[in-house]
Symmetry: C2
């Protein structure tokens, strides 16, 4: 029988009425002849309350105890959904991370899944036609016997890992949006939902601000080749088209994407600050001398642009940091001035990063050149450029963000 | 090092401020050189909310899932107390039922503790001076790997079972009263707190309405000879007398009670109804024919009085049921009239049961006779009498309850 993992986030299980709606989604798939594992998050707000209590108990709390407290949110939802399903006549059983078990690393509050045991689930699918309702976001560290959690959004990762363990045909991520869009529909009215997107593209889209899924879950999907389908938990039967295809976006390997477009989407982020270090000595070890202290200060450096030295002795180095860290980053750099050796630091915290993503870029030349031309025609100045195989990012003045995104969205035929 | 179990109920951990107060109690005992295992209930109200959700999800919910949901309440408190203790510089670690494990029967929602593994706790006391904070009310059924709960008030039983497992010197039950009283202080102003009470006496007092502790926990204490100390969670340092003795009641074996009084306490219950079956045929199997159907109807029968038949053919049978079940019990009896064979059923639902309890009764004759005389002098009619080794119970008209209790309290020198 075809096997599915269905994952529902906090908004989808926020109260008993919504949990009943989730149960109806599950029953629909059961009736369609699927074996089902459901992964649930905590009721919306529950995790925040638990986290708040931990902070109130002690500002610097032990992450092991934090995990023991916070993981209860998903435990409650899993039990309630199992009860609701049984009330509808569907065989169901809840599973906590330690019960399967889902084994993780020991990095409490940000653990990584190491192994999921799906054997018991497969046995119960066959013998009892039982739906497995699994508490997301959590696992067990084998050696210590302690509950771990995966960090915010970790239920997506739970779902994909379970889908891999039980060799599911698909992992359906039910969320409050009905898929992944070419760009933010609030900025570009004509943004379209993508039918399919490759893992690599999704990774670039997600980490750049299209916050549909936890980045780690997409990585995991890519490694284990789990087909992930993003769809709406508010979907109604009439949304499913006559061929039986529900609205949503399939995240899959590029071999599954037949009509490949050159550009898949435009992502952007306004909370960026640009820092330029002028006339840095161009010698080995300088990059480490600059970025080491920033990493120690827990400042996340994103775009890095370093040009080839013109005089063979000094060069300019530009990078971006979150706007909130701009001041702090500048201070760190001033402290290491003597050690690094540079003329001065300047920058701006009113910049935006616009990124163009598409697997098709690999085989198409001149994709970026088109963008430079189109933006120039609108009078948008490009402050810095970085490129990778399947995307390029441009740093521009923040005021021009929407204009730039709309221009590029049209340029690459994403308006349909 | 002397070892203690400390148990705190839902009111004592109702919010973070109270949890901090609990942590201070724990720290006091640590500073006094004790090894400590703390057992906590869920925050007051938390269990009710979880139970409410289960009922809302499905009126007839699976007890296994109910247990998975409801056990989270204690898990949260245990984690938060561990965090709070660590914030005070005390080494602490939380433990859920499945982690120790506390093994129970498979009777979900009303499981019985079978075995507690205290080995890891003892090791950590020694090696790390670590306080164990244990989620009460819950355990693990070994064969199914499922979480079980012990039923309302089960944390008391958890605490006593853990005290037995780690051979604790004492199990301190912190509650919202400061001990066990000779009778209800709301009825008799001069009711006194008992310094010591024997397990057997406590069992009679508890089941008769002095609702300080779960009955099962006292039974367990008696079996394993765990000294249980009932004390107030609102106790302040100045409440402890100069000899270092805190206010409270020690529940212990009778060999520890030096100055034994004949009568220890007077319990009473007003929610009783009396049913009398007149001229029942006096033949084998009749009691079963009457009480079987009542048990099937889930009606709890308490006092049973059957006198020796006068005519050798019929007799009168009197028993009590909870007042709320009076009507239903009568209906059950009318249904079985032909099968049982009796003349008529009569009764009253405005009766009260007053019980006099004391281990000393075993060796003192005439204790009950004194009561009959004293009550008669006050014009109180006794409707029925039952006796056991360490108590006797009287059924009287409900209006006379307070008068009877006060009369007996004075009669047996309990007024001090």
């Amino acid at each position: 029988m075809p096997r599915l993992v269905m994952k529902f986030g906090g908004t989808s299980v926020a109260n008993l009425e919504r949990i009943r709606s989730v149960a109806r989604h599950v029953k629909r798939e059961i009736d369609a002849g699927h074996e089902i594992a459901v992964v649930v998050s905590a009721m919306a707000g529950a995790t925040d309350q638990l986290v708040g209590w931990c902070r109130e108990a002690a500002p610097l709390h032990d992450a092991r105890e934090y995990d023991a407290v916070v993981s209860t949110g998903e435990q409650v939802t899993a039990g309630l959904l199992a009860i609701t399903l049984e009330g509808m006549g569907v065989n169901a059983r809840s599973w906590q991370g330690w019960q399967l078990p889902i084994l993780t690393s020991n990095a409490h509050a940000a653990a990584r899944i190491l192994d999921v045991n799906g054997a018991e689930l497969l046995k119960r699918f066959q013998e009892r036609h039982e739906v497995a309702v699994i508490a997301g976001f959590q696992g067990l560290h084998k050696e210590t016997g302690r509950i771990t959690t995966l960090g915010r959004g970790g239920s997506d990762t739970s779902a994909v890992a379970i889908a891999a363990a039980i060799a599911a045909e698909r992992c359906d991520i039910y969320t409050d949006v009905d898929g992944v869009y070419t760009t933010d529909p609030r900025v570009v009215q004509r943004a379209r939902r993508l039918d399919r997107v490759a893992y690599e593209e999704m990774l670039e889209l997600a980490s750049l601000g299209a916050k549909v899924m936890q980045v780690r879950s997409v990585e995991l999907g890519m490694v284990h080749n789990v087909r992930i389908f993003v769809r709406s938990s508010f979907e109604k039967p009439e949304d499913i088209d006559p061929r039986g295809i529900p609205p949503g976006t399939l995240i899959c390997g590029e071999e599954e994407i037949v009509e490949q477009q050159v550009v898949t989407g435009i992502a952007f982020s306004k909370d960026e600050a640009q820092i330029s270090i002028r006339r840095v000595q161009d010698k080995p070890g300088i990059a480490a001398a600059i970025f080491g202290p920033l990493a120690e200060a827990n400042i996340n450096v994103d775009m890095i642009v370093q040009n080839v030295s013109a005089d063979g002795a000094t060069t300019d180095l530009t990078f971006t940091v979150p706007a909130a860290d701009y001041q702090r980053a500048t201070e760190v750099l001033i402290k290491v001035k003597d050690r690094v050796g540079y003329e001065r630091v300047d920058g701006a915290n009113d910049v935006a990063k616009v990124s163009v993503i598409g697997i098709g870029m690999r085989s198409h030349a001149g994709v970026a050149a088109q963008a430079f031309k189109a933006l120039a025609e609108k009078g948008i100045n490009i402050r810095a450029i970085t490129t990778s195989e399947i995307k390029f990012s441009l740093l521009i003045e923040a005021n021009y963000t929407e204009l730039a995104v709309r221009t590029l969205h049209s340029l690459y035929d994403l308006d349909k």
